[in-house]
Symmetry: C2
Subunit: 420 residues, 2 copies
């Protein structure tokens, strides 16, 4: 080991420490336009490294158009496509707006978002809200009357009730919820069942203080919070974004600070390599599809919920969530094995996030691009699977493509010749 | 195999089927005096095979006296002891009143109980309510001003709010809650964390409809429901009692329908052998004690929460609850191994209660005394550990004593000579 190796080690240790010391706290619920840095009324955000409008295809293209229509920026699909092509409506990547997108990841100006401050470092991460249990959702490339009504329900009922409850209850620290949910069968990406309930529990006092005449809206909100496994995901995503950003821009660090994909590519960002995306082909997937769907329907529409893996949750904590096997396939043994492999490519074990089935071992945290390459082990992620006709058709495990890590390592070598 | 073996097989299959087909539903909350069959104003119920008053010692004796004082049947300990000795106050076993006791298991006339009907068979099981997080509780042999205040809080705040919410929400089926909690890290005996939240979620609509001026009481109740891992235990106990009783009194069945202990003995009941208790010495224990306590403090005060193991939960589902290792000790590997052993002594695998870490295998259900003896494997139970000075001092795994099963087998042989 020479002096330069020590530098990378120190930089990566710092990145790891910042991830672990992060304290994500839900501070507010607000409209995207009011809080996302740089957001404008005619911007639509979407998942993955941003591309020119013409490069978006399939479900992700449909989802962007859906966002334009939902926001009232055009009155039909053709007009939307024309305005997008003309640049009258801007498409950009969520990550550059301190936010992360679920699947296609559409943000428009009026959408309510969670405002999660990493109080240990002062930066903020944002995420918009879960649309609900219908597999046909805007973030899965569908926009129709049903999707519109559900988005309005989230905007007009769920968000205002949560906002009111939050104002009455006070800010909610998310780290304790995440830590406890890991003991209750969640990995906080494809399964947030317990976390959603623990979050709801924190809101109880506030929800009870909402004026009695609004109790039907409160009941509908409680239903939305707990009806399936996904509500809290948007909070773990906002938390993870605020955590990953705190570890970004550390000179000399080879720790991954974002993994994301659009309809064409998978890509990563690295702490010490600025905001450049290192782009590779699509991830490889092992899926379990809902009844009536087949492998040839699987399509890519984007996704940034993989920010959770970036900070040691999701696929990196799958041995905490054996119940996932029913949803995304696999066996407990395979989940355990994959989870254990992640220790081979990470900097350390999280001091606060523990996996009971591994004897309370801390989750593998802080992906090092060089450990990925040296060990030939790829980061795994638990994701929802989109179908070519829109909608969710299943769930599965994906592995990041090696090319992203190779490109990042090249860039690292050229930037840090002296200290590799 | 001769004809007689087939009979036992048929009888045990019937017992197993009844356990699995049971549908425990929370129907009401009521005072013990109003619902427990045979309860009288001057009866105190306690855990384990009933004994003459003079035989109760230590914490269980103290707990009975505490019950007398709480109920106002005597004004001091000496008077209580005199009245108990004179038979003016009757001590009896919970199990004979369709109920089960947690630890010392004290029931007095005014205490609120859960009324759980097994709607598949029409019988009812009862259990009183969790006192709260303080390790010093009446059911752990302590009675002082703090314990009294907490019991009154349960009686005057928690029970009335739950009762009102239940009346507004309607009856709550418990089987779906138990089934889902097994996917969320509970085994429903020493860990009911998720079940408590799932139960609370069912009560939401009712709790929200309680008149607004009572919202402070509702908030306190929500806190009591979810503040730790134990609230739902009393519901799984009442459910388990209603389930086990449905499988009791099946002619020819060698399936265990109750496991219980008092301060002197461990004992079991067997479906085809009437209401006789087959009594052995204390169980053996592997404990993890709270900080500041030592092995020599461990004492026996009774316990009937082991009804949960009788129907395939608790220790028989411990591989669903790896988080328990922090509380009661052991490793995931040991928990898995012990859980798998229980399949060697049970009739079948529960079709609705699954263990995710075992690939969703059904929980081992219906303990057969002959399989216990043939395989030399003893039923294991997850229990709280009492200290000699009163209060909870830890938790652990106990194994039932072999003597109970030997005595039961003897009785079985003499009763069913023709069909062993």
């Amino acid at each position: 080991m020479n002096e330069s190796n020590i530098d990378r080690h120190i930089a990566n240790t710092e990145a790891f420490k910042r991830i672990c010391a992060s304290e994500p706290v839900l501070k507010a619920i607000a409209s995207a336009i009011d809080v996302l840095p740089g957001m404008t009324p005619n911007t639509v955000l979407t998942s993955g490294p941003p591309m020119p409008w013409g490069d978006y295809t399939g479900g992700q293209r449909d989802a962007i158009i859906g966002g334009v229509l939902f926001e009232g920026l055009a009155s039909n699909r053709d007009e939307a496509a024309r305005k997008l092509a003309a640049g009258d409506i801007k498409v950009d990547g969520c990550h550059d707006y301190a936010s992360v997108g679920s699947l296609a990841g559409i943000y428009t100006a009026s959408m309510p978002v969670f405002v999660v401050e990493n109080t240990a470092f002062g930066n903020v991460g944002y995420c918009n809200m879960y649309e609900g249990t219908n597999p046909r959702r805007l973030n899965y490339g569908v926009y129709d009357q049903g999707v519109r009504e559900r988005l309005l329900f989230v905007q007009d009922i769920v968000a205002p009730m949560l906002k009111m409850a939050l104002q009455l209850s006070g800010a909610i620290p998310l780290k304790p919820i995440i830590a406890r949910a890991l003991h209750m069968g969640d990995e906080l990406h494809s399964r947030s069942t317990a976390a959603s309930m623990l979050f709801t529990r924190e809101l109880f006092p506030g929800l009870l203080d909402i004026p009695f005449e609004q109790r039907e809206a409160v009941k509908q909100t409680l239903q939305a919070l707990t009806e399936d496994h996904y509500f809290f995901l948007r909070l773990s995503m906002a938390a993870a974004k605020s955590i990953a950003d705190a570890a970004h821009h550390i000179e000399g660090s080879s720790v991954v600070t974002a993994m994301a994909f659009n309809c064409r590519n998978f890509a990563i960002r690295v702490s010490g390599l600025g905001d450049q995306w290192f782009v590779g082909p699509h991830a490889t997937v092992q899926a379990k599809l809902f009844e009536g769907h087949s492998e040839d329907e699987i399509t890519w529409m984007g996704g940034e919920s993989t920010i959770t893996e970036t900070i040691g949750l999701g696929g990196f904590a799958q041995a905490a969530a054996f119940a996932l096997q029913q949803y995304q396939g696999g066996s407990p043994e395979a989940m355990m094995k994959r989870n254990l492999q992640m220790y081979e490519i990470t900097i350390g074990e999280h001091p606060d996030y523990h996996i009971p089935s591994l004897g309370y071992r801390g989750t593998p945290t802080g992906i090092d691009i060089f450990r990925v390459l040296e060990n030939g082990i790829l980061p795994v992620m638990d994701i929802g699977i989109a179908g070519r006709d829109g909608g969710q058709i299943g769930a599965g495990i994906v592995s990041a493509p090696i090319e992203c890590f190779e490109l990042a390592a090249q860039a690292y070598r050229s930037r840090y010749q002296a200290i590799e």
